[in-house]
Amino acid sequence: MSDAAGVLAGLGAGAVPAAPPHVSSRRRDLAMLLGAVVVLAAAARVIELRPLELARDVGNIGRFLQGYLHPSFANVGEYAWQCVVTVCIALWGTLLAIAVSVPLGLLGARNLAPHPLVYAAARRTMDVLRAVNEFVFALMFVTAVGLGPFAGMLALGLHTGGVLGKLLSETIEAIDPGQLEGVAAVGAGRAQVIAFGVVPQVMPNFISYILLRFESDIRSASVIGMVGGGGIGFYLWDTIRAFNDREAATVILLIVAMVMCVDVVSSRVRRAAI
């Protein structure tokens, strides 16, 4: 401080507080750190975290993977077709999710909801859709529409609808209220206010969320066949359970290739759309 020159040298020597008024904040930080350590240590015991065993027996994984070194291409046509089915499940699942999420997201945004009860109902509905795993939904729909991709698509659509709805409602709650007021102030109707005051503001984020969830739906659709939801997941489950390593290797390779292709396409779409 002594070598302060220029403006700093000209500052007055008035009384300034030496420390922020919350003197106990350091003690509180320490308590929180200690609490976190205790919780994490307890959780480590619960999940039987044993890093030493992993280090010792990591070679076993190598022996397991050796079975996968020679993929079989005997049924690759059927697997490829099931990958197409998987993409279709994800496409329609995401479309259904959009249809579910738009009304829920609009009603579940505090700044648009017509009534607090409507807001609460929309929020709780989205909570339930998100809390119930897509696999559980798939088991439910299988009983209604039978085994197959239709059940898987319905399951993905409902679960993802809850996720997208929550993201949409939170995006809407974060919009600039001034731009919204600028539309409402001309006496526009409710639908008009949404079309001009809300949609332009949330569209870039919403498109981004849709693409993100589509990528995630591809991964979910690739395993939902395990519970009868159609797509490549059935063969993944079937070949792994039967220790049919060479067939399983083919299925896994195809899934990886499919996910990579979809991610490339969706990032292209993202760049074009936003």
Binding site: V186, Q192, A195, Q201, M203
Partner: protein, 270 residues
């Protein structure tokens, strides 16, 4: 000034409280058609609250506000939207939809005039050619035809405020309420916006109520000045009667007023 034509706005003993603080305290005034009324006072004196009550963005606690013969307190749903359609709002921060083009922002002003299926076509951003023609004329009136297809957020502050004026021209209101319309603008743009508002008031016989924290703008542009101090109306008269003593009354500790020329050449930053 009062009494030669039936008032367009009647404010009668209005009180509005926020968490125990009186933002408006027993305010009464009448505003006549075609008048340019400036509301002046310090920050927190209740200027914006008064304007928001006139727009029925806020309800008054006691007292009544009437537009022509309509009591604003009774408005709801469709009638409230009708009131908003007849009142054009200008904001300090312009409040354009930033991601929409200039033309779309002006077309927003046409929304309350659409009838039947066109109301729903507008939701898909489709407007009849006649509506486009009106929007373009409004933009020409504020001198911004060359900006029609640009996104609103690519315009300067002064241009955005003029787009906002074009929007309420298209809205065709009876009264314009302007909340600190020039506080975010530099002096030249501020004067351009005030000139435009003044011209609209004079040409179309529109009533303008504008909050201004620069007394000098009020002196130059207003027919009548309402001075608020801590929620109370302490001045109501023509700008010529705004003496130094009056200004101290309105602004309290306010020092001697700047001369008009001095004030208008100094940067007016928000």
């Amino acid at each position: 000034m009062d009494g030669f034509a039936s008032p367009v706005v009647t404010i009668d003993r209005v009180t509005r409280t926020f968490r125990g603080k009186r933002a408006l305290d027993d305010v009464s005034a009448t505003i006549h058609p075609g008048q340019f009324v400036a509301v002046i006072g310090r920050s927190g004196a209740g200027k914006t609250t008064l304007l928001r009550c006139l727009a029925r963005a806020l309800r008054v606690d006691t007292g009544t506000i009437r537009f022509a013969d309509v009591d604003l307190a009774a408005l709801d749903g469709r009638a409230l939207r009708g009131h908003r359609a007849r009142v054009g709002m200008i904001y300090q921060q312009f409040n354009l939809v930033r991601r929409l083009r200039v033309i779309d922002n002006v077309l927003i002003g046409r929304l309350p005039h659409l009838v039947g299926w066109r109301r729903w076509a507008a939701v898909a951003r489709w407007f009849a050619p006649a509506e486009h023609a009106i929007a373009l004329r409004c933009l020409a009136h504020v001198g911004l035809v060359d900006r029609v297809w640009q996104r609103a957020d690519t315009l300067s502050g002064g241009e955005q405020q003029r787009v906002a004026i074009a929007k309420i021209l298209g809205q065709d209101p009876r009264v314009i309420l302007a909340d600190e319309p020039v506080a975010s603008l530099d002096v030249l743009n501020g004067r351009l916006v005030m000139d435009t508002l003044r011209r609209i008031a004079s040409d179309a016989g529109l009533t303008v109520v504008a909050t201004l924290h620069h007394v000098d703008y009020a002196r130059v542009y207003a027919d009548r000045v309402l001075g608020l101090r801590a929620g109370s109306l302490v001045f109501n008269g023509p700008p010529a009667e705004l003496t130094g003593a009056m200004l101290v009354d309105i602004f309290g500790e306010y020092p001697a007023p700047l001369s008009t020329s001095e004030a208008l050449s100094a940067p007016a930053l928000a």
